[in-house]
Amino acid sequence: MVERTAAPEAPPESDPVMPRALADIAPELDPALAAPSSLREFWGDFSQNRGAVAGLAMVIALVLVAIFADWIAPHSPIEQFREATLTPPSWHEGGTTKFLLGTDALGRDILSRLIHGSRLSLFIGFISVTLSLALGVVLGLLAGFLRGITEIFIMRLMDVMLALPSLLLAIAVVAILGPGLINAMYAIAIVLLPHYVRLARAAVIGETGKEYVAAARIAGAGPLRLMFNTVLPNCTAPLIVQATLGFSTAILDAAALGFLGLGAQPPTPEWGSMLADALEFIQRASWVVTWPGLAILITVLAFNLMGDGLRDALDPKLKR
């Protein structure tokens, strides 16, 4: 399980002369700050990193595959072809073009299962990261703005969560909630939570002392507007980076939980549980293990590469 944290005390400074908050309040003041130009600048930085672009391309391809899974997949992911169990891939001896990557022990087409599995993996990543990010940002903002007893309470709780090995925490949560895909997602979201809270809090504390925040305060912005409209947009870079890397953590963790039989339940075509089912056939049919493993590797690698590229482009200070 990957535990990486983008630098907590490195808020982005896309434009030191005029912070984005002012553009939010009065966008007509400076048309140069409109979205396209900063996007183009970002793309310029991002596209210099070839690995990152490759990662982005893979992620886009995966998303497309996941969206159009019903049309791309040659068969249903749970349909069992009883006469064709453990068929090897088509280019092996005995393989047919009907099952391009072969079939598993129950005669289900592996390619179709992988294609539908991409949907699940991205869904798991998306839901758990979104949940965790949303909750983490709110808690982090609260801790950073209110300080005092709220901050101590929230941060100590996060310390306790960080003090346990992430996998153990996830398994404990699943053990309490009961095995299943949805509960695995909650567990992963909980495990990821402390990183976002700490990042958000550090960014908020770094930003609140700056003059544009004081200006917004004097202009009469209420606490909610200060939190979400003024400060939050200026803390997004480390959060975006962490969220991208969180995707790969979530997919790996979900695969591990699925492998242990605590995540997706059969016949759901989840990559980790596909691997667990395949384990006993490894001697006779190694392809049933190879393909899901390759799918996990490619997906996680893509998100890792993209996350590294995003970090370099959004947070120049972190570049080594």
């Binding site: 003090a163 090995p165 691997l275 384990l279 001697q283």
Partner: protein, 327 residues
Amino acid sequence: MLAFIIRRVMQSAAVMLTVAFVAFGLFNFVGDPVASMLGQDATPDDRARLRADLGLDDPFYKQFASFVGNAVKGEFGLSLRQGRKVSTLLKERMPATLELSFTAAILALVLGIPMGVYTALRRNSWFSQVLLTISLVGVSLPTFLIGIYLILIFAVLLGWLPSFGRGDVTALGWWTTGYLTQSGLKAIILPSITLSLFVMTLVMRLVRSEMLEVLRTDYIKFARARGLTDRSVHFGHALMNTLVPVITIVGLQLGGIIAFAIITETVFQWPGMGLLFIQAVQFADIPVMAAYLCLIALIFVIINLIVDLLYYAVDPRLRIDRATTGH
């Protein structure tokens, strides 16, 4: 120093209490023990008596206090599945897990540090690029997949090493060790490699980035200007200064290794605590689950505490910081 220690011990106690709370929560969330103990044709009177005997009618805080009290003594009751004392079960399984984790940690250090040094010193050589690429792939692969492939290659195709189990073990008192027999040593190779790979890549990347940082500093330039040999500069000056963070990270990862052994033990059917825990989760064997959670958390917390104290002892800057800002 004393205040620091006291504060850290208090924090650790808070963590342990939280974990105990979660473990205690398992008992309350997962099913009703009275129903599973009495069966269907028990009368309400039977239930009430059993509830009172088990102390289930006590208020929540009292139950929790007695749970913590028993946990401190190592009493977690009987395993629901095996009908034996949980503490005995864990004690039987503990040597296997600890030997595996220890071997993995040593492997990670012994291989990870030289690889990190090499990739830092020969930054542009093709071999460094290969190592870095492999490490990126290694971070992106689930542990269990690496284990499965090691089994496929070394146990199934080549037939050199066993694919599961611990081999023959020798008993030393209550501790059983696989280090003393040939089959035990053979059996530990694949699981420990599997378990160590992730930490190994972590150590390698950490040593590399720290080395690159240190090599840029003035005292390295000064050491070179004094005409010291490359070897002395690289290993005597640079490496020594990178070791503090490396030891910290490895120490903190050690607890993680023990926890991640769950997956490796499942892949290799290694008879350790992790395997016991996973079986317990599948059978909803709550006393075993609760005891394992508490035990691992305890190991993790103790390691964290030791690392923090060591760090404090090794790095004088921490002490100066506190002295100037604290008062």
